[in-house]
């Protein structure tokens, strides 16, 4: 079974600063995908970034980047130049590769507050 652990229930960062959210996971799969989703107070789950396990290069989307360490089963999210709109719950998620019902396994989330 896959498990996803987010050890930081809450974090805060000053506007324009950089913050890193941690995520570790446990799996016996070799091929899989990892995601970060954000859920603002509106409760809409929004994809932030996606990483394929077979890719060594870390994914980047504008101000968002990941540090993917496959051997350590670590997948942290770095938010640069934090903005007030980044305030949200952030969920790390795992999805195995292959056919069949590929559901997402979510961590418990990190509540990020950006302070003006």
């Amino acid at each position: 079974a896959q498990t996803v652990t987010q050890s930081q229930p809450e974090m805060s960062v000053q506007e324009a600063e950089t913050v890193t959210l941690s995520c570790t996971y446990d799996t016996s799969e070799n091929n899989y995908y990892l995601f970060w989703y954000k859920q603002p107070p509106s409760r809409q789950m929004i994809l932030v970034i996606r990483q394929e396990a077979y890719k060594q290069q870390n994914a980047t989307e504008n101000r968002f980047s990941v540090n993917f360490q496959k051997a350590a089963k670590s997948f942290s999210l770095k938010i640069s130049d934090s903005q007030l709109g980044d305030t949200a719950m952030y969920f790390c998620a795992f999805m195995k590769w292959g056919t069949g019902a590929n559901n997402l396994f979510f961590g418990t989330g990190t509540r990020l507050t950006v302070i003006p």
Binding site: F35, Q44, G98, N102, N103, L104, F106
Partner: protein
């Protein structure tokens, strides 16, 4: 990505009643999923909605409690049956174009059971 809508956006229901939640996508999608997010918790998959066949339920979820329909590639419903206060949650549908595709989520339905 597809535009996903859910109805209703929220509802307050009495114990013992049932509520049907609709998920509509603006384009055909292969995969549709239903998740539950209990208060202050993460998301848990309820089932995969299969077009033209019975849904595939995860451990701990049964068809009698959460019947699901998927009549076509753009629409699905989830019914929460014989509700109790423990069913108070946000219910979200998600879609993907393949088993390796990123899942995109609807806006969710906030259900409160009194």
């Amino acid at each position: 990505s597809a535009v996903i809508s859910q109805k209703p956006s929220r509802d307050i229901c009495q114990r013992g009643t049932s509520l049907t939640i609709q998920c509509q996508v603006d384009s055909q999608v292969t995969m549709m999923f239903w998740y539950r997010q209990q208060p202050g918790q993460s998301l848990t998959l309820i089932a995969t909605a299969n077009q033209g066949s019975e849904a595939t339920y995860e451990s701990g979820f049964v068809i009698d409690k959460f019947p699901i329909s998927r009549p076509n590639l753009t629409f699905s419903t989830l019914t929460v049956s014989n509700m109790s206060p423990e069913d108070s949650s946000i219910y979200l549908c998600s879609v993907g174009q393949s088993s390796t595709d990123t899942q995109y989520f609807g806006p969710g339905t906030r259900l409160t059971v009194l």
